[in-house]
Amino acid sequence: MALDKIGIAKRIAQELRNGWYVNLGIGIPTLVANYIPEGIEVEFQSENGVLGMGPFPFEGEEDADLINAGKQTITTLPGASFFDSADSFAMIRGQHVQLTVLGAMEVSQNGDIANWKIPGKMVKGMGGAMDLVASADNIIVAMMHSNKAGESKLLKNCALPLTGVGCVKKVVTELAVLEIIDGAFHLIERAPGVSVEEIVGKTEGLLIVPEFVPEMQL
């Protein structure tokens, strides 16, 4: 059965390693913070200038001056710090953040990503995404395998304007975990009960399928 958003978040949370600083994008990536594996300590960076983000505040305790990059009210944990946007992107560009998780509209088989613009239709802007994908060594994309029209989002080449080139290392969808190596998607795991055939059918880009594809352990 295909995963829901929480399933995707749970699977990505398994990628966290002790001591990492992690930047989570808006949407599914934000949910990853709720499923940190036991014994793993990480700290979350929000590019608007917060390190050490905690959970949402209790009702009535929201502070308009304390938000994350998704403009949501948040709290901080002991050891947190605030800083300006230049220092924040110094952390990101300077590769002090070990993992970036973000959403995408399209990912190509060589790791290109498009997630900021649909010409003539939707132009929200790239925000911090271009800095994040150009800088991070370790980028995981969390997204649905297909768009609302049913078309694959894992492509030979991105059709939409790019956010970054050759930067995505891993993609986690409702169907599969895929690694991008040498210009191809490599199928690493499939969602419980999802067939390899379904994944093959919904992946437009070059997909390398090993003999045995284990199911995700969630």
Binding site: N48, F56, E59, S85, S88, M130
Partner: protein, 232 residues
């Protein structure tokens, strides 16, 4: 050096049609509300505004968009504003979208006398079109130039009469960088105190970057995404 002025009207003196203004804030957090209100009142037109976001419909820079006082926006993310999208898609509004980290660094560079720098952000995208590319550490980087503005308007939590500023939590964001990059920098603060009241070790923006400072009359501090959890 006393940089305190009486009110927002005096603080914004000299802002004329056609000038370029940097405005601090991220989303609606840490934006100079009082100054934006005054700009609406003044009716200053043909503005070029450099701000990470463009407010929302009915608040923040959204107010200046409604009155069509903005000719051009330089931002990184503008997705929360229908009127903005309408004006942009119809061509009424010029828009220059810049990666957020490059926007921050370009403001800092403008204030720091660094005319240009290399960054990996945007390489291979339409942002890099026409920009010089150079390989450093095996990775392509593009050359980005500094940004400055005729006026920078920033919002701080506390400020003293010498122009020293302290921001609160995530309301710091772009404010310190834009304070550096304004030819004339105007600070609106929640609390204005005499010089000597703030700890010199804990100043976020040294007074040298600020030309005028005033205490804002009221701060609504609207929350864009009120997210809470329930008590167990």
């Amino acid at each position: 050096m006393n940089k305190a002025v009486e009110n927002v009207a005096v603080a914004l003196d000299g802002i004329k049609d056609g000038v370029t203004i940097m405005l601090g804030g991220f989303g609606l957090c840490g934006i100079p509300e009082n100054s934006i209100g005054e700009l609406v009142k003044k009716g200053t037109k043909e503005l070029t505004c450099i701000s990470n976001n463009a407010g929302v419909d009915g608040f923040g820079l959204g107010l200046l968009l409604e009155t069509k006082q903005i000719k051009k926006m330089i931002s990184s993310y503008v997705g929360e504003n229908d009127e903005f999208e309408r004006q942009m898609l119809s061509g009424e509004l010029e828009v220059d979208l810049i990666p957020q980290g490059s926007l921050a660094e370009r403001c800092r560079a403008g204030g720091a006398g660094i005319p240009a720098f290399y960054t990996p952000a945007g390489f291979g995208t339409e942002i890099a079109e026409g920009k010089e590319v150079r390989i450093y550490n095996g990775k392509p980087h593009i050359l980005e130039e500094a940004l400055t503005a005729d006026f920078a308007i920033v919002k701080a939590w506390k400020g003293d009469t010498a122009g020293n500023l302290v921001y609160k939590a995530a309301a710091r964001n772009f404010n310190p960088l834009m304070a550096m990059a304004g030819k004339i920098t105007i600070a609106e603060v929640e609390e204005l105190v005499p010089a000597g009241s703030l700890d010199p070790n804990q100043i976020h923006t040294p007074g040298i970057f600020v030309q005028r400072i005033f205490q804002g009359k009221a701060f609504e501090k609207r929350i864009e995404q009120r997210t809470v959890r329930k008590r167990d």
